[in-house]
Amino acid sequence: MSTENGLSKRFEITGGDFGKAGSISTKIKEILQEIGINSTIIRRTAIATYEAEMNVVMYAKKADLTLHLTPAEISIRVYDEGPGIENIEMAMQEGFSTATDEMREMGFGAGLGLPNIKKNADRFEISSTPGKGTALDITIYLNQEGKK
């Protein structure tokens, strides 16, 4: 879209691919470091991206993650194809999780991912169509007046 005034990069995430899980948030962190973004903002971005990435790996079939960066803000969009979320309000609650026992064995499933994304983002939108997929829009402001 507005690629003129910024940097855009697209990544693909494959559901169930635990081997590569987390690699996108690491790549995004490196990009932000090269640009010289403040380390607290990098950390917030990395955490939000990581949680979104993991949810695709755990629950969805596949997704496109787009990073869009302008001097004003970092935006991360994750659009997945998957089962979608029936009750978003419930999913957003701390502690709510439908993770399987295997996932819990691996240390996931505390039900903290989505709330954590919200906590670390300046703006967060989530929408979902059950049976089709879920869309996340995460924004983090670069000028600190943007709050947080």
Binding site: L7, S25, E34, G36, S39, T40, I42, R43, A46
Partner: protein
């Protein structure tokens, strides 16, 4: 320019640009320029991987020569516990310390004892700490530098307790100057080091202060002379020698030693930079919050695997492990008095004297908008590259090459895959030119080629 002191130097005479170092460097700090390796100072974390990788011995650790001793009126050797791991099983620390004295040091101090004190101090700190977890050990200066450069947000999780080598030399100097009526600067404290990075932690401490050590002598330099010197050391009783070993301190030579001897339940021990990076990534994602303490060593198996050690690292690891097992079995604990340590701890005796600050790599541009633009250019260049990381351009990967081009450090034509393309474009332009001037020239040079190009 020389903002950072580094513990290694490349000898251009010996370097023939084989790229081994460039490929192993974990922070992509090496480039080949004009057939020789060069180091990008701000990126180097002094891990020493390149030293081990170079088949020509062209990367030279900057440790001190033995001659430095003559500059002082009184000298003390302070060996890293990794030195104790270099010799056969029957050779215990007491003999090694005696050997060091025979080599010309006025005294040799068993640093393992201070390591033991610091282990207790770490335990105290872990108990009191309320902030984010896990806390990370600062025993390995490479790990501290890695955090400063790549994980600046984890700096506050590095335990702010000083290293045993600094505490020991501070103490020794104080005591000796009183004892012999010498000035502190007349006493030379030399660390016997398993790696060159300890050298920079002396010349340029990570926490911006002044080191109490005066130099570092590499284990590999001292090994031979020490071995002969020990031949004339009288044999002490094995049992007695064993009884003088601080089990807590000896553990500092190998990965997991601190956790094991302190019996920390909620802790992790990692070694090897690639493994450490994985763990640090997880910490950044907030995944290891239920872990209290992480012991991390850049070298495989810990300091026993340091680049300036001599013995095979698995053998030396094993020696320390067996020693710990023996001491545990015999219930020998020649360790500092924990009450005493607690008292000193309250007096801030163990804390770092300066503050650790991040050391992030310079951004692509100081101006945010321009930096974003340059990062975009980097991406665009990268997309045109073959992505096989051949290294022929002198950069370790196609991605770093793209960055070097954006930074103006490399030319796009340095990529050998770009060259044929350039030739094609050039010859096309030439043909077009010749075609245009063709009619005026009866000889029609290049016409055959021009037709082929159609």
């Amino acid at each position: 320019m020389n903002q950072y002191f580094h513990s290694i130097r490349i000898d251009p005479e010996k370097c023939d640009g084989r790229m081994r170092c460039m490929r192993v460097c974990p922070t992509q700090a090496i480039r080949i320029r004009n057939g020789k390796a060069v180091i990008i100072e701000e990126k180097c974390i002094d891990c020493g991987e390149c030293i081990t990788a170079c088949p020509n011995g062209a990367i030279i650790p900057l440790t001190d020569p033995f001659g430095e001793l003559t500059k002082f009126r009184h000298t003390v050797a302070i060996p890293s516990p990794a030195l104790y791991a270099q010799f056969g099983r029957e050779i215990l620390p007491d003999k090694i310390l005696a050997g060091l004295k025979k080599l010309g040091f006025d005294d040799a101090f068993d640093q393992a004892f201070t390591c033991g004190e610091v282990s207790f101090a770490i335990q105290e700190y872990l108990r009191e700490h309320k902030g984010p977890k896990p806390l990370i050990s600062n025993a390995c200066p490479t790990v501290v530098r890695l955090i400063q450069v790549k994980y600046p947000d984890l700096i506050d999780q590095i335990i702010p307790i000083n290293t045993p080598r600094e505490i020991a030399s501070r103490d020794i100097k104080k005591k000796k100057s009183k004892q012999y009526g010498l000035k502190e600067k007349e006493i030379g404290a030399f660390y016997i080091t398993p790696c060159p990075v300890k050298m920079i932690s002396i010349k340029q401490p990570a926490e911006k202060g002044k080191s109490h050590l005066d130099g570092a002598i590499s284990i590999s330099d001292i090994y031979g002379p020490l071995l002969s010197a020990m031949e004339s050391v009288e044999k002490a009783s094995y049992k007695k020698a064993l009884e003088s070993i601080c089990i807590l301190g000896i553990g500092w030579a190998m990965v997991g030693g601190i956790c094991r001897t302190l019996r920390l339940k909620n802790s992790l021990a990692v070694s090897g930079l690639n493994e450490i990076i994985k763990v640090f990534d997880d910490i950044e994602r907030g995944k290891l919050r239920n872990i209290d303490f992480i012991e991390a060593y850049s070298c495989p198996q810990g300091c026993v695997g340091g680049s300036l050690t001599v013995e095979n690292l698995y053998i030396s690891y094993n020696k320390i492990l067996k020693l710990i097992e023996t001491l545990e079995y015999e219930k020998i604990k020649a360790c500092p008095d924990i009450q005493e340590v607690r008292k000193l701890y309250k007096q801030k005796y163990f804390f770092l004297e300066g503050k650790l600050e991040p050391r992030p790599i310079k951004p692509l541009d100081e101006d945010l908008g321009k930096a974003i633009k340059k990062r975009k250019e980097k991406e665009e260049i990268y997309e045109t590259l073959p992505k096989i990381d051949c290294g022929a351009c002198g950069s370790p990967t196609c991605l770093t090459f793209a960055e070097d081009v954006v930074k103006g450090k490399s030319e796009l034509t340095d990529c050998i895959f770009e060259l044929p393309q350039r030739f094609k474009e050039l010859s096309q332009e030439l043909c077009e030119l010749l075609n245009r001037i063709g009619p005026m020239n009866p000889a029609k040079p290049g016409s055959k080629k021009a037709r082929k190009e159609e």
